[in-house]
């Protein structure tokens, strides 16, 4: 398993649109992709799960990827969040 912390920078946090972009990317990978936020562990492939986490701009989350393509998956997630998720 690989993991990395990152701060969500886009203005609206993980709202429906940014979440959609995140999840659409996540489902391309075979590995499980989750992120830790506070005490909860969220499935990054589920829009509902991500929305339910209520991540706001400025919050720090930690991605955890596990599976055959875990390195690529983690890199892609970090790159996407850094790019501001389309905002």
């Amino acid at each position: 398993m690989v993991s990395q912390k990152i701060t969500v920078k886009n203005v609206s946090g993980l709202h429906l649109r940014p979440t959609g972009i995140l999840c659409n990317e996540a489902i391309k990978y075979k590995s499980t992709i989750k992120f830790k936020f506070g005490s909860s562990l969220t499935n990054a492939k589920s829009v509902l799960s991500v929305l339910g986490a209520c991540v706001k701009s400025g919050d720090e989350i930690e991605f955890e990827c596990e599976g055959p393509d875990e390195d690529e998956a983690l890199k892609a997630m970090i790159r996407l969040v850094e790019s501001g998720l389309g905002e």
Partner: protein
């Protein structure tokens, strides 16, 4: 021939299309073969996805990318592994039918969203319920009614049309609307007028008298409907329709002309609107501004309040499009017959005498009124916005609202946010109390707008929706006329602007009286503006004084109506 209430003028001839939104009955049914049930659910999910995809593509081309985005969001939810996983688990674990599993799981998520303290998240509850209904319809084999894709020449027949259903209507295909319920001022009627589709509402038991494909002829001006009429009747209405269209064409020559009476009195001829998009119609019919922007529409058909930001965008858009022309925006008028579920209003014993409009807003300053007033103030930097307070009955209400506005102005000053420091604040005069103390109001407020629908209802103590007593509901009643005249006189004496934004402002029989009383501003459906301009420019207010005096001398509604009918032709 069937009688109803005329709701939107014009002649409609076409084939009946009965629109019934089937009520879904979802029961908890046990299943034995849960694996097969999961497959059934998956099939329905697939179909719903495909349907949604088509809908999204159609919306993108027909309406716009923004509307399509909502559907794309729905597709994401439908694809969600957490949602579908939970539904499948529920089917397998509880051995229940798909319909019920969908109901449970989606309702649950909708509740979670609705309870979040983030407004944007709360709105996702609507999306959740929407996809729930669509999946269930597929499961139950219930076809969705798609009003936007009817064949040309359709006459829409329904028990009642919700505002959101009416919004899907394409005027190119719908030749007329007939409903069993509703009234002249119900939302479907108002929207039919906005779309310029002839409509007759409140036709009792009409659904039992018509079937799909029947030829229907309706006269929206007279409020009559025929089903499979004789050839002679059909021909008569075909020629009527031609005449109506010709007259409409004639009115177009009044576009761009000033609204001035023969004796040189300038009149402001403005429009009533409900949504920001309606300003297109205002421009099309050469409205000189907006006399009433009903903000409730921004709050309806959703599961949480629009944010200050959303409201700001809506008000700003109207102000910008009208580029300096006056835009009177009425603050939230809910309660009475206009309910908004998420506002947490209790059922009032007497809704029209209860907790509504300004009474409600002043009680809910922090979560409802302040965000709206702040949005209005911020938008005032982009055009000529005026704030109108509805349903005032005493000066204290105006003073309290005004103080709140001043408080918000100070806040904006401090934050360095621009707004119009001279913004006008007026009141809607629509209660008997406000009319009686119009002289007191006129000293403090910036303008009046007379709301004749409520004023008539409150003055006559009559529920305009009640068939048994609606005969008493007439703006030509001597009591109502005296009230209107008094309000106008008080405003003129105090030197403030006085307008009218009720149905009466566009009534050809009422316009001469209002001109004689000295009304400055007439606000009506955009489509009525050119006819009103034609009428107003043909009168001289001086010559009308004698007509008004005569009309005011009668003792009964009937005498006034007969006299004005003869006068106005």
């Amino acid at each position: 021939m069937y009688k109803g209430t005329s709701a939107s003028s014009g002649i409609g001839i076409g084939s009946a299309v009965i629109v019934e939104e089937a009520e879904l009955v979802i029961k908890r049914e046990a299943v034995t073969d849960t694996a097969a049930e999961v497959e059934r659910f998956k099939g329905a999910l697939d179909q719903t996805m495909k349907d949604t995809e088509v809908l999204a593509a159609d919306l993108a081309t027909r309406v716009g990318e923004k509307e399509a985005e909502i559907m794309q969001g729905h597709m994401m939810l439908l694809m969600d592994p957490m949602l579908t996983g939970e539904i499948e688990n529920s089917i397998t674990g509880e051995a229940i039918c798909s319909e019920y599993a969908v109901e449970q799981v989606c309702q649950n998520y909708a509740m979670v969203f609705a309870s979040m303290d983030d407004e944007l998240m709360q709105q996702r509850a609507t999306d959740m319920l929407d996809i729930k209904t669509r999946m269930q319809k597929v499961l139950l084999g219930v076809a969705s009614v798609d009003i936007s894709a009817l064949p040309a020449g359709s006459i829409l027949v329904a028990k009642d049309l919700t505002p959101s259903m009416t919004a899907g209507i394409n005027p190119a295909n719908v030749a007329g609307i007939v409903t069993e319920l509703g009234g002249k001022t119900s939302h479907s009627a108002i929207l039919a007028r906005a779309l310029e589709i002839s409509a007759v509402v409140a036709v009792s038991d009409f659904l039992t008298k018509v079937k799909n494909g029947d030829t229907v002829v309706l006269d929206g001006s007279e409020g009559v409907v025929y089903v499979n009429p004789e050839q002679s009747v059909k021909e008569e209405y075909e020629s009527k329709r031609e005449k109506f269209l010709k007259e409409k064409k004639e009115l177009e020559q009044y576009i761009g002309k000033p609204t001035v009476t023969k004796d040189g009195v300038h009149i402001e001829l403005v429009a009533n609107i409900g949504k920001p998009e309606d300003v297109e119609k205002v421009l099309q019919y050469d409205g000189e501004g907006v006399g009433l922007f009903r903000t409730e529409f921004l709050f309806m058909d959703r599961t949480s309040m629009p944010t200050e930001e959303e409201q700001f965008e809506a008000y700003k858009k109207v102000a910008e499009v009208l580029a300096g022309k006056p835009v009177i925006i009425r603050t939230l008028d809910i309660g009475g017959d206009k309910e908004i579920p998420y506002m947490g209003l209790q059922k009032d014993e007497n809704p029209f005498l209860g907790y509504r409009a300004i009474r409600f807003c002043l009680d809910r300053k922090d979560d409802v009124y302040k965000p709206q007033l702040r949005a209005l103030l911020r938008a005032s930097a982009f055009g000529n916005i005026k704030i109108m307070i509805p349903l005032v009955t005493c000066i204290d209400e105006y003073r309290e609202a005004k103080a709140l506005i001043e408080e918000l102005k100070a806040e904006l000053d401090q934050a360095g946010i621009a707004y119009n420091k001279e913004i006008q604040v007026g009141v809607m005069v629509e209660t008997a109390a406000a009319s009686l103390i119009a002289d007191i109001f006129a000293k403090e407020v910036d303008f009046f707008s007379i709301g004749t629908n409520d004023l008539t209802q409150y003055t006559m103590s009559v529920d305009r929706g009640n068939d048994k007593v609606s005969y008493l509901y007439s703006t030509f009643n001597p009591a109502v006329l005296r009230s209107i005249k008094r309000i106008i006189t008080c405003a003129r004496e105090a030197g403030i602007m006085v307008g009218m934004c009720g149905e009466a402002a566009s009534d050809p029989m009422m316009i001469p009286l209002l001109l004689a009383f000295g009304l400055n501003e007439f606000s009506m459906s955009a489509s009525a503006i050119l006819r009103a301009r034609k009428l107003i420019t043909g009168y001289s207010t001086e010559e009308l004084q004698a007509v008004a005096d005569k009309a005011m001398s009668f003792a009964t509604t009937k005498e006034v109506e007969d006299y004005m009918k003869t006068f106005a032709g």
